[in-house]
Symmetry: C2
Subunit: 219 residues, 2 copies
DNA sequence: TTGACTGTAGAACGTTGTTCCATAATTATA
DNA sequence: TATAATTATGGAACAACGTTCTACAGTCAA
């Protein structure tokens, strides 16, 4: 499967010594973690969550297996690093939402949420569906939780903006943002599992969002 | 871990023969599949998806490991059997929805959906979150898909009833039922993952449903 | 009763996450 | 720069997992 690639890292074979005749190259210490996470992302995107094994990632990075444990604390740490990347990108995607008016921006935010999930289905799966079961029962590190909360905050901002303009009623923006999250997450989660039983998932998604906006409209 | 239980199935040791002196009891053929699925449910409910191993289920049932393969086609078949049970129960739960009027029945249906997911979190996880990764890439058998569709049909019926009474507008009940599913699934999926960031998840759930109903109200 | 079927126990295989080790290359210190 | 402390490497090894294969023996049907 990986064939002759690893031979490139053998720099020389100075003597035909008995035990360890060949010199080994070594990844600079400062690069190990970054390269492992980059390799993990490549494996995840290319082959999906099921193919993300510690050995596959180490081979993809050209780094010793042990590096995953000494630098990232094992597979769970590797996945946590990917979660941080994923939630960071989702946050950036949602924060970039814009539109001609406050409702247009809310609609764009919803559209971006779906596009992110469809463009990054494997990322979305590990972020929201535990597509890679955790080996140990420990909770995610605080950074991951905080980045996930940052994505939610982007929704709160959009809701606040729409409420300030009077387009919707949101006395408690967090409550309404949660309703928005429920709707968009439910829609994309079901779509990723093939459980949108209507002919046009995109149209149904838009309709769901419009129903929400109508339900939130000022009386 | 299972200690002395399996000794109970050794009925006698008639002779001190050299190789296989002990007589073995045998599960009646007609019972093997049913008992395996029952044991799998017990393990799933008690210990969660991560503990549902073929060996654990066979031990729980007191049935030889091989039975899972000869009767159910392996772990995936075992999980499919559980999915069938789970979707069947969800369908029954939703079909039992009732209320003083058509909107009351819709509200009860939404309430029942959440209660089912919170009362059966491990079932919900394998039904909607692939909490047990499939070993082979094959699709679920038709029965599973049909039973999942039956659960959705229960939602369609409730929507049709509400539309017929004029409480909501649903020219295409399937479209509206899908919007309802998006909302309730999104809410419970996020709640099961601890991602309801409002103080009172139950209240936010109800509010989400009310916003949906308001958005679907007849103009 | 007899033969076909099939559950049982056990071993075994490959893959997985994980740990440990001696070795050697890099990095930091004096 | 010389020396010491770090740390990446490669390999073996472990337990747990899904899966397959086997001889054996209990059950079921002709």
């Amino acid at each position: 499967m990986m064939g002759a690639m690893e031979e490139a890292r053998i720099e020389a074979a100075p003597t035909a010594g008995p035990y360890h005749p060949r010199r080994r190259s070594r990844t600079p210490s400062a690069d190990v973690e970054r390269e492992l996470v980059a390799a993990a992302e490549a494996v995840l995107v290319r082959d999906g969550p099921g193919a993300l094994t510690v050995r596959a990632v180490a081979a993809e990075a050209g780094i010793a297996l042990q590096g995953v444990y000494s630098r990232l604390g094992g597979k769970d740490g590797l996945v946590d690093a990917l979660l941080l990347v994923g939630f960071g990108r989702l946050t950036a995607t949602l924060e970039a939402a814009q539109g001609p008016d406050s409702l247009g921006r809310l609609r764009d935010c919803g559209r971006r949420y779906r596009e992110f999930s469809l463009a990054n289905p494997h990322f979305y799966a590990i972020m929201f569906e535990d597509a890679i079961p955790r080996e140990r029962e420990e909770a995610h590190p605080g950074e991951v939780t905080e980045q996930a909360a940052a994505a939610f905050t982007a929704l709160v901002r959009v809701v606040e903006f729409a409420a300030a303009s009077g387009a919707i009623s949101a006395p408690e923006p967090t409550e309404v943002a949660q309703q928005l999250w429920n709707t968009v997450h439910g829609a994309v989660a079901l779509e990723l599992k093939g459980l949108i039983l209507t002919p046009d998932p995109a149209a149904t998604y838009t309709a769901s969002l419009e129903t929400l906006i109508r339900g939130l409209a000022t009386a």
